[in-house]
Each structure stands twice: as structure tokens, then as C-alpha cells.
Amino acid sequence: MAKNPISFQMDLDPADFLPATEEEKQSQVIMRDSISFWKDGFRRLRKNKVAMVSLAVIIIIMIFAFIVPQFYPYSYDMQIKGANNLAPMQFSAAEQAIIDAGGSVFPHFFGTDSMGRDYAIRIMVGTQISLLVGLIATAIILCIGPLYGAIAAYAGGWVDLLMMRIVDIIYTIPDVLLIILLSFALDGPLKALATVPGFTWIQTVGTNMISIFIVFALLYWVNMARMVRSQVLTIKQSDYVTAARALGVKTSTIIRKHLMTNCIGTLIVCATLQIPSAIFTESFLSFLGLGVAVPLPSLGSLASAGLNGLYTYPYLLFIPAAVISLIILSFNLLGDGLRDAFDPKMKK
């Protein structure tokens, strides 16, 4: 230890030894701004490059799926004569003649399928259908799951017990088996219903699609219900809610302020991750021939049809497969980003 007491000889200004003012003291304290939960979350989300790129990809895919088909010169069920099985960017003999004569023909970016339909528009419409399946399924789940979970948690007692036993049972039922079974069983009744005026849309969507939605409504909400229930229970017992109650805060305010902020983050994340899972299931079922009705394409049914000509026209399979993977990947990555940003429990 260096022993030189008070021999720290420097040119010290005696004036420096006068008391400092409060302002001088405070100028040294740098306080970090406190920011709200949502602001903080969005800031973190914006910083997350992977999530932002995923979001951009999702938006681009949505534009191609929902807006571009409105202006596209071909339609998904239009069969172009003599243009069967064209390779990407290739023209049929008739189209080539028009071009040679100085006319212009809109190119087939992804070629055509065996029935002479432009594959690019089929992919776009297929993407639209797949996305709609994902979004509608998630919307259904979002309606049922949180409500069921919240009721169970609030009711408590034997109501809670019974409701959760039902959830346990549903949880162990293999979902895909039930979808297959249901789409099979509902096929006839729904077809009959489709002839009734006002229900003809069922014909277009396909009875299988309705079955898929029914199964989603029946089975897929259990996870969300469980989550919301445990969330509500935790919050109900948490110290800050007790504190809020002790301070005389109204129940409605507690629900709005504490419960919503705590649950909505998790719900958004859950919903974002549910969309790809629904698309996944639909594409799988379409692949097995249990998806949307012909001639409506979905990415899964396109891939399934592409399988038949795999060795000669591999792009007919690989393009829809790539689009499915891209959609699922983007939603998963965005969901991960949202969780990192908004799930308070994940905060390190």
C-alpha cells in the first residue's frame, strides 16, 4: 500500500473546496429515461433486424397474395390453350407467334401447369388461400381460447376444475386424426348444405376447409386457454394487484391495466405463432388431398399436384414448397421477435 498521506501535492484551488450547489451535484447524475412498456417494446422490436426483415417479407407476400392478383392478366382457373407444362418464362407456340408478329404477351414467370394455367397466379392465389386459412383459424382461436381460460380462472373452484379437465382431454386428442376424420364425415352433410341458397360459398371454399376450421375451433384453442388461465391466476394473486386493490383501485381498472398489459403481449406472440402452425396443418392436409376444393389452389395442394411430375417439372413442387417455408419462417421469426420485445417475463 502506498503510504503518502496528504502528500498528494497538486495545484489545488482553494475555491474548489467550497460547498457545491445542488445544480452542480445534479449535473453529474445521468438518469436513464423511463419509458412505457409499449414504447420500450416497439423500440426493441425495431432494433431486432431479423424480426423487421420478417415483417417486410410478410408484407411483400401479402401484397402479392391479395393485391397483385386483382391486376394480373391471367386468372387462377384460366386454361390457356396449347400452353401446357411450360417452363418458367417460356411461351407457347401460339404466344410466340403473337410476339413474332410484334404483339406482346405477359410472360409466365413460373411457367404453366399441366392444364395450361399460369403458375405464377396460381401460386399467388394459393398463398392468399393459405394465409386466409392461417388468419381465420387464428381469429377463431383468439375468440375462444382467452375467453375460456379467463372464465375458468375467474370462476375457480369446481367450475375451473371441470373446464380444465375438458382441456386436458382435448389436449391429448391427436388433432390431425380428428381433422381427417371430420373432413371425411362432414363431406356429405356440407355438400348437401352447399346446395341451399346462401351457403353456395361452401362449394367454392370446399368442405374440407370448413372441417379444418371446425377442428381448429374445437381443438387448437386449448393452449391459449391454458396460458390465459395461468396468467390470470398469477395476476390475481400477485402482490401488485393486491397492492392496487388495497389502494382502492377499481376492479375494471385492474383488469384493464394489469391483466391486459400482461396478457396482450403473450397473446400477440401466441397468435403470431399460431398463424404458421395453421398454414402448416392446411398445407399438410392439402398435400394428402384433404384441403381446399379444386380448382381453388392452396400452397399445399399445389405442392401435392407438383409431386406427380417431380422428375420432369420439379419447379411445380419446389416453388409452392419454398413459398410455404418462407411464410412459416417469417411468421416464426416475427413471433420470436415479438416475444423478445413484448413478453415481460422474457425480459432478462
Binding site: M1, F8, D13, Q28, V29
Partner: protein
């Protein structure tokens, strides 16, 4: 150098390199401890008291790096040791008791498993011998029905019981040094006293040294020989327990002492809290870190770090108020009027 010290930390500088920037967790920290002595390190959370002790057995958390200084234990330079050499010391010659007994035991193994593990690791004892020793240790730390406890899982025991188990694990190999990191913070007040008493009793029985890390001055007063007061990664005052309690020199130490409830005064005194918030270690102030919170803060305090002032072999502080110039001005002032927070 200094074979006489069991622990000798000299000019330790340690930083955490976080994504947000470098956090200078320790700045020129010196610690000396003889065999059988008890040192208390006092300070608020984030002051670097745990980091100091952890660095001694290489438990510094991941982005932390020793910048300079040297750490000796029992004559060996710890910071030069390989991981393998360190492992022989950990749990054997230096043991740690952590703050939260609820989370410091592995939930999926029995108590017996977790105690015998450390015994078989550092000694040549067989499983049966280790088990017998574990039973002995449980009796030593005052746990009844040791046979039964050995077969239980951590979640089946109370917090106080678990902390006793942690002590048993720490003492299993009769260490030369025991680091107690806020061992009683997570416990009920009645249990706190029991645990502290137990530690002192075992210290006398086994002749080990203890580094007691706490934010509670009341804890150190009764059991420590020396006290180091830390603030923002620096030791701001160091001395024997009597010196620190009866002749505190640094304004932070004085503040800490004033904030302890006292039972020995007749009059009804209000506790005086220390105003302000702890330092943001990412953006520390330029001068004395305590400056912005110090009631006697001077202009120089905000510009320059204070030099050391040594009062005798054991007592020193880093405070501008102890410098000649400040003393002179204060003397001049006090002849005019009496100051409230004056000298002890």
C-alpha cells in the same frame, strides 16, 4: 509478498463488458485478511462487494474481466491459476454461502446427494464415509433428524433449513476461507440471528476466516474484525469495526451508520436515510462517485476523484473532506457557526 495474509487483493480493477458499454465494477480494490479474521464488506447493491469476493475464486460472471491487479490466496496468485487448479480450491479451501437459499440448491437432487458430492470430490472418502460425514455436518449446523433430511429434496425444507444446508456444504471440506454473500438477507429476522450465531460458532471451532458481504451494518458490527465500505466499485473507507463505527470518516459511512436503528439511546431519534439514487455504473460521475448524494459535497468532489487519506495502519478513506484544504475551510466555517453533519 505478504505470506502472513490469507487473502491479499491488491489494486484490483475489474470491468464488465456489456453490450451497452464497459461497466467498471471494481476500481483499485485492496483487501487483506489474516487467518481466523472476519472481514465485512458493506455497500448497497451494485457497489461491487460480491464481485470482489467472487473474483477471488474465479466465479466472476461472464462478460467480466480482470483488468489489472493481483489476487493472492494462501500465498498463491489466484488470478494466474488454471481452471483446473482453481477447481481444487473451490469448495475445498474457499467456500461460498449464497444469498438466496431457495434457489441455490439444485431442485432435482436430494440434500444428501448435494452434500456428499462435494466431499467425494475433494477427499478420498468412499460413499459411505461421505454419507457419515454429511450426517455429521447436518448435526453440526443444527439440523435435527439428519438421516431423514439427507433423503429429502430442497423444496421440502424451509428457507432457514436450506441455508443451514448451504453452510453444511460450504463447511464440508473445512475450508480456510468462507465467503458469505448476504447469507441472511432472504431469511426471517429470527432465523437471521440463528444463522449468524451458527457461523461465528463454527468459525471459532474450525479456525477459518470469513468474508462477510452484506448491506446491513448491523450484521457486521457484531461479528467482524475489519470492515470495508464499498461504493460504486471502490472501497471508500476501510478500518477496524470500532474505527468504522466510532470514527467514521467518509460521508457515505456516516450516512450508513445514521440509518441504523439504535436501541441504546433514550430519546426518540428519527432515522436519517441517504438521499438520492445509487450510481448508474454505465455513466458514473466524473469525480467522487458519492459526490452527487453527499450533503457536504464540494466543487472539487465533482471534478476529481479524492486521494487516499490514511489515519493509521488499518484505517483509511477516500474523501476530499479529509484533505488539508477542506479541513482548513471547515475549521474556519465552524468557528463562525456550528455545522449539523460535522466531524465525529
Amino acid at each position: 509478498m505478504s505470506e502472513e495474509y490469507l487473502v491479499n487483493i491488491e489494486h484490483e480493477k475489474l470491468s464488465f463488458f456489456t453490450p451497452a458499454g464497459e461497466v467498471k465494477a471494481l476500481n483499485d480494490v485492496n483487501i487483506h485478511l489474516r487467518q481466523g479474521e472476519v472481514l465485512g464488506i458493506v455497500g448497497e447493491s451494485g457497489s461491487g462487494k460480491s464481485v470482489t469476493a467472487y473474483s477471488l475464486i474465479g466465479l466472476t460472471a461472464d462478460p467480466g474481466k480482470l483488468i489489472s491487479g493481483s489476487l493472492y490466496f494462501n500465498g498463491h496468485q489466484v488470478d494466474q491459476m488454471t481452471e483446473k487448479e482453481m477447481r481444487k480450491i473451490r469448495g475445498n479451501e474457499i467456500s461460498i454461502i449464497f444469498q438466496d437459499p431457495m434457489t441455490s440448491l439444485n431442485p432435482v437432487y436430494t440434500i444428501g446427494n448435494q452434500i456428499t458430492e462435494v466431499i467425494t470430490l475433494h477427499t478420498n472418502k468412499t460413499k459411505e464415509e461421505a454419507k457419515a460425514r454429511a450426517k455429521e455436518l447436518l448435526e453440526l449446523v443444527g439440523i435435527n433428524e439428519p438421516e431423514k433430511r439427507l433423503k429429502q429434496y430442497p423444496h421440502e425444507l424451509s428457507g432457514g433449513m436450506r441455508q443451514r444446508i448451504m453452510i453444511a456444504i460450504a463447511l464440508a471440506c473445512e475450508p480456510k476461507l468462507l465467503i458469505a454473500d448476504e447469507p441472511t438477507t432472504a431469511l426471517d429476522v429470527t432465523i437471521q440471528a440463528q444463522i449468524l450465531e451458527l457461523m461465528m460458532e463454527l468459525k471459532d471451532k474450525l479456525g477459518m476466516s470469513i468474508i462477510m458481504i452484506t448491506h446491513d451494518l448491523g450484521v457486521v458490527a457484531s461479528m467482524c474484525d475489519h470492515i470495508a465500505v464499498m461504493y460504486a466499485g471502490r472501497i471508500v473507507e476501510y478500518g477496524t469495526t470500532d474505527q468504522v463505527f466510532y470514527e467514521p470518516k467518509h460521508m457515505y459511512t456516516k450516512g450508513l451508520i445514521r440509518s441504523i436503528p439504535r436501541l441504546d439511546t433514550d430519546e426518540h431519534q428519527r432515522l436519517i436515510p441517504i438521499e438520492g439514487t445509487p450510481v448508474d455504473m454505465l455513466n458514473p460521475p466524473k469525480g467522487c462517485p458519492f459526490g452527487p448524494r453527499c450533503e457536504a459535497c464540494m466543487k472539487i468532489c465533482l471534478k476529481q476523484n479524492p486521494p487516499i487519506t490514511e489515519f493509521d495502519d488499518t484505517h483509511y478513506t477516500y474523501c476530499w473532506l479529509q484533505q488539508k484544504e477542506a479541513m482548513e475551510r471547515l475549521a474556519a466555517d465552524s468557528s463562525a457557526k456550528s455545522s449539523g453533519g460535522g466531524e465525529a
